[in-house]
Symmetry: D2
């Protein structure tokens, strides 16, 4: 059961000369899906950072595999799951489907970045968890 879903109509301009989605676009969609979740649950990235005194909910690690291609005219449903909360990390998983065909499966590992003594470091993730699970 996904925590959030986004519909992505695949357009001509998302595709490359082979006629399939140019892969960096999938990561733009992962990021957009995460920010749409933030908007939906806690007023968006900017509001959350202000509330938590953070610089950003930055990315530490990311990956994806592509079992099948998607192309112009496809309607992809992208599912996000808040998969695992660590001490300083949140692991999100993503699955993209066109009909019942899986076109992408991936993850993002994110932290809550704070500025301390002029340096950025990942802080305790619990306050973000509290915000996102509040409703």
């Amino acid at each position: 059961m996904a925590d959030f879903s986004l519909e992505v109509p695949v357009s001509f301009g998302h595709c490359d000369p082979a006629g399939i989605v140019f892969y960096p676009n999938y990561f733009r969609w992962f990021d957009r899906c995460f920010h749409a979740l933030l908007q939906d649950r806690a007023g968006g990235h900017r509001a959350i950072c202000a509330q938590l005194g953070a610089k950003g909910l930055g990315l530490m690690d990311v990956g994806a595999r592509f079992p099948a291609p998607a192309t112009e005219g496809d309607l992809m449903r992208l599912d996000l799951t808040l998969a695992e909360w660590g001490g300083k990390t949140l692991r999100l998983t993503y699955s993209g489907f066109v009909g019942d065909r899986t076109v992408v499966e991936g993850y993002e590992l994110r932290g809550l970045f704070l500025e301390r003594d002029g340096r950025m470091r990942a802080g305790d993730i619990a306050p973000l968890r509290a915000l996102l699970e509040a409703r």
Copy 2:
């Protein structure tokens, strides 16, 4: 009265370090809006090209102005109008609104490109007009 409209939720990743939409994204949205119209009215760019023996509905000229900025969390409504059919050109106009604030106004001039004797040239636009106005 617009011929087609697209809702564009402005996301964190669409914005630049000044916190406003990085302007080339507006053109990605113009192009996406045009292709969504093609999909809606005549089965999409690929189907239309196959039917008309064309290589593409390519861009000749484009422009935009930006009366006000849009930012993370804004929901933009982008209106497209089939503004003017020439002999070999279609002029599309676009207006983007966040609430009642205009954030972009622009146009695209497009042609129906055919390959003749190994060269690409703009052909008669009437067959495209017939397709798009058919319904």
Copy 3:
């Protein structure tokens, strides 16, 4: 005679299913060329804004036409000219060439945006001119 030039190797991922450059990329290259000029002449956008108390060198108006397509493997030379200084505007013109073939011609109209009483407005452009013509 151009004021600045950038070499842009056109890559597979810049092109669309028709095999030619997806047009919003040209505007990413215009913007990149402008920022490279800022870096070259006055330490970059961030340093200039800090020095002039500005929020950004934002875009008001932009346009381009595409006399010929560019494709994967082409090496485009993009020329920028500081074409015209107004009271509150700078007009930049751009020309892109692959060999001796012109693939894009366009312009950007930019202002120096300041925050005054919580609103952004275009300020006097003369301090920017002084910086860019200093050397």
Copy 4:
């Protein structure tokens, strides 16, 4: 020792409202680096596909981690290594540096995709290896 390197000047437009590189851009640079290698060693993706009867050198799996941020004005050197040839796969590794600071480390797993009986499948990778190691 890298098999290929690309210099990437990080521009304003590559960065997000947090002022650091919007992460999908790293994958655009991975892909661009790979295609630049293809150009350098064997005439580019299109020529290679024509020679090998392939549809594309497509992506199966990709990942990256980001030990430190990169920002506007940074010059990143991106190193590519042909890390491992499998029966039907090529594993590429990438490392990006700004000065002596590592900003990204990642990989791509690619295959040589052929169309057989109307379906795409990964073929024997040996002919690609022969081409890329020929010189």
